[in-house]
Amino acid sequence: MTGEQAPVLEVEELQVDIALRRSTVHAVDGVSFSIGPGETVGLVGESGCGKTTIGLALMQLLPVGGSIVGGAIRLEGRDVAALPEDEVRKLRGDRIGIVFQDPLTSLNPTMTIGAQVAEPLVIHRGASMRVARGRAAELLELVGLPSPTKQLDRFPHQLSGGMRQRVSLATALACEPALLVADEPTTALDVTTQDQILELLARLRAEIGMAVLLITHDLGVVAGQADRVLVMYAGKLVEAGTTNRIFYETRHRYTEALLRSIPRMTTSREEALYSIPGQPPDLSRPPRGCRFAARCAYSTEECLAEVPPFVGPPEHVHACVHPVEQATAVGSQSQVAP
């Protein structure tokens, strides 16, 4: 999949700390992955696992107190983490675009839609406002906003949630970035609107050929969109592989538990839903060994001793001491009683 071509993004042993008043949270602890040109990689995990922090670190937009304390982020071969702020600013919105969960807070309420979509073109490409506005109308058409020229002078609050998300997509795509980071792009939307935005995202990917890092907690969204999936738990990747392998030949016990917790159309009312007991660990004092061990039905002494290394073929690696045996993988709703 990544094959011969140089990857657009390479993340190597990334470590991000967030300093709080009394403690330091190790939000991302040694994460490595890469994304090839035109490839869509899904990054999944629950709230607090560090997936959003990774997205923000790529953009160098970490919150106050947050800093990259180790590892490298290479975007088209350049180490973003080592660049000074004014160089990073040149990349942001140009080579790398971002779409956030809530378009009402990520769009500027005091700027017209035309001005927001045109802004990256004026800043990065030195386009005149007139030219940029014309291009903005084209971009709005590309993302399926009805009567785009009329929308240029409207403000974000005059649009619905789905339309606002289309506008933020248009803004992110203005300079045709090599990488789009989409952080929960459809979580705030209704299913019908979500469906329209996902279809749009798939079409744009095919047309523009950009790489996408799709950050989400929704395994259903990832299943339809991603070429490869990264599963994250408590600051670390636990499993990574092609989408089919992750869903149909699940190895890590956390991925398995996550998939089993989702009610399916076939889950009957009578059966209790599988649930993962307990809470994720406190990342200011991460546990030794496998971080999922405390909640895992299969954990043994061995799991607590040290962090399990990644094993498996390059297209599917996992870090689990007691992985799911292939024959009993959950993908096809088979029963795996703990």
Partner: protein, 334 residues
């Protein structure tokens, strides 16, 4: 199923839109436009639909936080609108609400014990020591540690806060709980813990639930009966099998088809955008069938005449001129 504990008869809720200058009523938001439904005792009724369809307003009317503009709500055989103040207060205990956002629905300056105790104080029930004992029992029941009573909401995770919300709703020993998006704010692994707890509580206390959600898989999992709302109207209702496996309304079918499932092969094969466009305005809802502006099967009739609810099975009704299933009367006639 057993007798109906709750019945909505043609309830309507309109909110006035006033002009800024003269404060005159210039229009109305038609939040709920004539919804009728029955909920049998001990059952779970799932109410689904997109944001702005009126499902939350229906829930708020059921628990008495809003009064219908017209129509009536019958609870345990008595019409709520006709009750005196004292009676209404007593009946109020029987219907409780669990909110969506466990971060916004608990007072951050109250200890958990006080939060769970508050309904008892408001209703002037029990002595002091009895209240303390009740709080302890409730916290136990929802699986919170004993010392939770003396802690503040911020010390708890989202899932635990939703347990606090459930304990508060249970304090008055209600017959009916309206849960508005009870698990939407929670992570997958925590979501199933709360859903399982709700199920346990239901069988232990013979509770009736009205679960409001936009998440169709969750609703399907918890509900015996399901109602689908679109722009203030109930467009389809029936048992969960009827609604999911034999959907009669194109809107229901499209909603179900758009849920992303954790199955890559299914997702890749899926054709997108069953429903185009945006939800129309509730101030001027479309004439005829309200769904006609987005419906792939819409014809002239749909733009002119509002379809009535027709029967498609023993419990199954839908309002569509060109349904995906044969209605019952026509079947028997043929």
């Amino acid at each position: 199923m057993s007798e109906n504990i709750l019945e909505l008869r043609d309830i309507v809720k309109e909110y006035p839109v006033t002009s800024r200058v003269l404060q005159r009523r210039i229009a109305a938001v038609h939040a709920v436009s004539g919804v009728s439904l029955q909920v049998p005792e001990g059952a779970t009724f799932g109410l689904v639909g997109e944001s702005g369809c009126g499902k939350t307003t229906v829930g708020r009317m059921i628990v008495g936080l809003e009064r219908p503009t017209s129509g009536s709500i019958v609870f345990e055989g008595r019409e709520l609108g006709k009750l005196g103040l004292r009676e209404r207060r007593r009946v109020q205990r029987q219907r409780q609400l669990v909110f969506q956002d466990p971060y916004a629905s608990l007072d951050p300056r109250m200890r958990v014990g006080a939060i769970v105790r508050e309904p008892l104080a408001v209703q002037r029930m029990f002595s002091r020591s009895e209240r303390t004992a009740t709080v302890r029992r409730l916290l136990d029941e929802v699986g919170l540690p004993r010392d939770a009573a003396n802690r503040y909401p911020h010390e708890f995770s989202g899932g635990q806060r939703q347990r606090i919300g459930l304990a508060r709703a249970l304090a008055l020993n209600p017959r009916l709980i309206v849960a508005d998006e009870p698990v939407s704010a929670l992570d997958v692994s925590i979501r199933s813990q709360v859903l399982n707890l709700m199920r346990e509580l239901q069988s232990r206390h013979r509770l009736t639930y009205v679960v409001i959600s936009h998440d169709l898989t969750v609703v399907r999992y918890v509900s015996d009966l399901i109602g689908v709302m679109y722009l203030g109207k109930l467009v389809e209702a029936g048992t969960s099998e009827e609604v999911y496996e034999r959907s009669a309304h194109p809107y229901t079918a499209a909603l179900i088809a758009t849920i992303p499932l954790p199955d890559p092969a299914y997702e890749r094969a899926k054709t997108h955008t069953a429903i185009r466009g945006e939800l129309p305005s509730a101030i001027e809802p479309p004439r005829g069938c309200r769904f006609h502006t987005r419906c792939p099967h819409a014809q002239d009739l749909c733009r002119e005449v509002e379809p009535p609810l027709r029967a498609f099975g023993p419990n199954h009704v839908a309002a569509c001129h060109f349904p995906l299933q044969e209605p019952v009367e026509e079947k028997t006639a043929a």
